[in-house]
């Protein structure tokens, strides 16, 4: 792999809620995560609610300050970049949100919102903004004439296209897509995913695709990172991880995914109980409380994310035995 475009090392984020009378509770949303994306590479981040996958996306964009660890973008460490330069760097990293209703300003025409990035960074002379907005709308499969409309005049899938056009306006190199299709109908999901796949190829985008939908990630991404309670459980090429999951959590996740074809259904591994609270995670391996293979040693030290086969890493001390 060539030098990564964006690389997170030892990234942690702790949210502390302060109270006047109550002792503050610290929620460790992301802990010791390493992720790297080469230019043009698509990496899927998979996990259930509370796994810290959305927080990871925002940390990598510098939208949230990290508690620990660093993010390097194009060879430069994010929190060491001077303010003015930061702003120009923002142009190169963008985000697409989950909720197509909350992610567009309801009071401004979509054309103006797409043009924001152009105006802020002075990318296109004011007179040509309209033309560029039209190009962007065409690129995401909308009619340039729709620039004059307000968000409420669009359907959910169309809004998501507008959100993508806005993110692409500044010609970014790195795009975080935070569950971009999970609130859409399946027929529309496929449209948006097709679009994202094409744009990634055509524009050589590095894509961090955050999702809880494993089959979607498998289709779109080169590599996948599986998270549970803020930690990375497993990482590797998407095909391989889904075909032969190494970590017990990945197995459970895959077996729980409903399948259309009864022939492809595997025996369901039901996880007992609920995920533990991120403010009070179990000692040692965070998954051990729900893991069928847990032994005493799992409660001891936090299992390191270690190499497992070719280009894969797994954080389970029993991965080989179970396989």
């Amino acid at each position: 792999m060539s030098a990564p475009l964006i690389e997170a090392t030892g990234l942690s984020k702790t949210f502390t809620s302060r109270g006047v009378f109550k002792r503050g509770r610290a929620v460790q949303a992301v802990r010791q995560v390493d992720v790297a994306l080469a230019g043009g590479e698509a990496v899927g981040v998979v996990g259930e609610s509370g796994s810290g996958k959305s927080t990871l996306g925002r940390l990598m964009l510098g939208l949230l300050p990290a508690t620990e660890g660093t993010v390097r973008f194009d060879g430069r460490t994010l929190d060491k970049i001077p303010r003015a330069e930061w702003r120009t760097l923002r142009r190169r990293m963008q985000i697409v949100f989950q909720d197509p209703y909350g992610s567009l300003d309801p009071r401004r025409r979509v054309g103006a919102q797409i043009a924001d990035g152009l105006a802020i960074h002075g990318l296109v002379p004011a007179g040509e903004q309209g033309r560029r907005v039209g190009e962007l709308l065409t690129m995401v499969g909308l009619d340039p004439l729709q620039a004059k409309r307000f968000p409420h005049e669009f359907s959910g899938g169309q809004r998501q296209r507008v959100g993508i056009a806005r993110a692409l306006a500044t010609s970014p190199d790195f795009l975080v897509a935070d569950e971009p299709v999970s609130s859409l109908d399946v027929s529309i999901q496929a449209q948006i995913l097709q679009l994202l796949g094409e744009l990634r190829r055509d524009l050589k985008l590095a894509l961090l695709f955050i999702s809880h939908d494993l089959p979607v990630v498998r289709h779109l991404c080169d590599r996948v990172v599986v998270m549970y309670l803020g930690r990375v459980m497993e990482e590797g090429p998407a095909e391989r991880v889904f075909a032969e999951p190494a970590h017990p959590y990945t197995r459970a996740l895959i077996s729980a995914t409903p399948r259309l074809d009864p022939g492809k259904r595997t025996k369901r591994i039901l996880l007992p109980g609920d995920p533990p609270s991120p403010s009070d995670p179990p000692s040692g391996c965070v998954f051990r409380t729900r893991c069928a293979h847990a032994i005493e040693a799992c409660a001891g030290a936090v299992p390191a994310l270690r190499a497992f086969g070719e280009a894969r890493r797994v954080a389970c001390i029993r991965a080989e035995e179970i396989a």
């Binding site: 567009l104 300003d105 802020i120 809880h212 259309l260 109980g273």
Partner: protein
């Protein structure tokens, strides 16, 4: 826009008259004429003259200048400063919040009249002093409103999106946040102007505001009060002016708020009286005893400003004991509306226009509300998508389940509690004794859905309708809930109608499936057959959009049409790859393709043949 004309014109007229006072040919408002003191309407003075013989109309108009000038000036100043303080405080939080919003809160500690008295004593009365006092008084109101709105606006994704674009803070505040908090600030402005007019009058009335003989509405009321018994009309004019101005201001600000918001408000359709009184004016149908629920030809009609729409049309489906029937389709296909119609829970604007829903020997569409209420939660139960909003947040989970039991059965509180405990155990809630006393917010999403299911099962229903019960849950929790439902169905023989948009979930749980599109059934049959050899192009397209096989998923172009714009022929034709001219000509009938399999497509035989060949 239309709503803006009336109040806007009215306020504009008031302002124009006040502004143009010097140009109007009015008598001098302060010239006294004792001889004509308190005279009624006379030529040259249509509203009469006051206690010093001054022209009332002239004083009213000149007084408007002072009163409105003071009110608008102070509201504008307070609005500008207060909104800015709120913006800064809400955006930066921390020290910024302390220095702005909290500091301004100190003003709220002073009684307003006391503060006014203090300032007037220090600076002397006069219009300028009044503006200063009133501005200071209204700043905290604006600051608080703006602050609260900024807090809620800043958490929106679109604000995050502009941040991600690298916009400077000033641009975010002015371009993105300010327009989105404008509504409440405008309302606050109307309140401030109205209050300022009143307080100005009050202070002038007390002799602390505008200095006589300069005219102001407050001074006029003060003067008229003394001679109330001789000339009651003198009191009426300034009071009427005051009331009308404030009313017009309030109307204008309401209209402005609607105008600033580009989203058109949803208009509530009117409900015809006959629908309320006689909901069952429908053609009768025959009951079918072998099924638990038999819906036939159900049509739901909604009156809208654009005319009557039928978001559900001629839907038939049946479910036997111990069977699971899935209703599947995209949003807008009418699947949830079908279920709510069966439960008698349609929104007030909608009514079942045709068809029947036989539950045993009773037609659910024709039952009276009390009869339905006895059935709901009893023999027919429902589980919704969002367990958080379907559980009452202020009652303990166990009490809610016990209450559901006691609503349908005559048992003691203790017995009901014991039954609730059993149910909690049955739906797989860990540590059930403790969870009985938990509040909904203390439970996880999966646990809350289990409580909902326990509640639905409390009275051993013969029919359970589950509307997207796992959509809001994580996959591992979804797997738990699906297994639970399947197990309960096996044990109790409850008939289950499962509404979902996920085909994979249907494949996992259902025996038969009904595929809906744009309010109609397009295909129906056993799951294995429908998914194995789909007959309708829509079913095939839906299956093709699922990420399952090695082939890349293919989306369906376009969107589900809105009910008022349903195509006249086949409703799927505009999005269908196989559509021919005949498809758009006439609505296709629902044909029986094989035993137990229905399809609504005129080309299904061609397409099936082409595929086989």
């Amino acid at each position: 826009m239309k709503r803006l004309w009336l109040p806007g014109g009215f306020v504009a007229a008031i302002l124009l008259i006040a502004l143009l006072a010097p140009l109007l040919d009015l008598p001098n408002p302060i010239r006294q004429d004792i001889a004509r003191r308190l005279s009624g309407p006379i030529p040259g003075s249509p509203l009469g003259r006051d206690e010093f013989g001054r022209d009332v109309l002239s004083r009213l108009i000149w007084g408007a200048r002072t009163s409105l000038g003071v009110a608008f000036a102070s509201a504008l100043i307070a609005g500008a400063i207060g909104t800015m303080i709120g913006l800064v405080g809400g955006w930066f939080r921390g020290i910024g919040e302390l220095l702005t919003v909290r500091l301004v809160d100190v003003i709220l500690c002073f009684p307003p009249i006391l503060l006014a008295l203090l300032v007037v004593t220090l600076l002397g009365p006069g219009a300028a002093t009044l503006i200063l006092v009133l501005s200071v008084l209204y700043v905290p109101g604006f600051a608080r409103v703006a602050y609260a709105e900024v807090l809620s606006a800043r958490s929106n994704d679109y604000v995050e999106a502009v941040r991600a674009l690298g916009a400077p803070t000033g641009r975010i505040l002015l371009r993105t946040v300010l327009p989105n908090i404008a509504g409440p600030v405008l309302v606050q402005f109307s309140l401030a102007v109205a209050a300022a007019v009143v307080v100005e009058s009050g202070l002038s009335f007390l002799g602390l505001g505008v200095v006589p003989p300069a005219p102001s509405w407050g001074l006029m009321i003060r003067g008229a009060r003394a001679t109330m018994e001789q000339a009651p009309l003198m009191l009426l004019w300034p009071c009427a002016a005051l009331t009308l101005t404030i009313l017009a201001m309030n109307l204008l600000c309401d209209a402005l708020r609607d105008w600033v918001d580009p989203r058109t408000p949803a208009r509530r359709p009117r409900l015809r009286l006959v629908d309320r009184l006689l909901p069952g004016l429908l053609p009768p149908a025959e009951p079918k005893p072998e099924t638990v629920l038999d819906v036939s030809g159900l049509t739901v009609e909604i009156e809208t400003p654009l005319g009557a729409i039928k978001p559900v049309e001629d839907v038939s489906l049946s479910v036997r004991a111990g069977e699971t029937v899935a209703l599947v389709g995209e949003s807008g296909s009418g699947k949830s509306l079908t279920a709510t119609a069966v439960m008698g829970l349609l929104p007030p604007a909608a009514r079942p226009a045709a068809g029947a829903a036989w539950f045993g020997d009773r037609d659910l569409l024709r039952l009276s509300e009390p009869e339905l209420r006895r059935l709901r939660g009893g023999a027919v139960a429902m589980v919704f998508q969002d367990p958080m909003s379907s559980l009452n947040p202020v009652h303990r989970a166990g009490d809610q389940v016990a209450e559901a039991i006691r609503a349908h059965q005559e048992v003691s509180v203790a017995d009901a509690k014991a039954r609730a405990l059993d149910l909690f155990r049955r739906v797989g809630i860990a540590d059930p004794e403790r969870r009985l006393n938990a509040y909904p917010h203390e439970l996880s999403g999966g646990m809350r859905q289990r409580v909902m299911i326990a509640m639905a099962l409390a009275n051993r229903p013969r029919l359970l309708i589950a509307d997207e019960p796992t959509t809001a849950l994580d996959v591992t929790v979804q797997a738990q809930i699906l297994d639970l439902l399947a197990e309960l169905k096996r044990e109790t023989g409850t008939a289950l109608i499962f509404i979902t948009h996920s085909l994979a979930v249907v494949a996992e749980i259902a025996d038969r499936v009904t595929v809906m599109y744009a309010g109609q059934v397009v295909e129906q049959g056993p799951v294995a057959q429908v998914f194995g050899t789909p007959l309708h192009p829509y079913t095939r397209a839906l299956l093709g959009a699922v990420h399952e096989s090695d082939a890349a998923p293919v989306g369906i172009p376009g969107v589900v049409p809105q009910p008022h714009a349903f195509p006249t022929g086949c409703r799927f034709a505009p999005r269908c790859a196989h559509a021919i001219a005949a498809c758009s000509a006439a609505p296709p009938p629902l044909e029986e393709a094989a035993e137990g399999r229905l399809v609504r497509c005129i080309r299904w035989t061609d397409l099936a043949g082409a595929k086989a060949a």
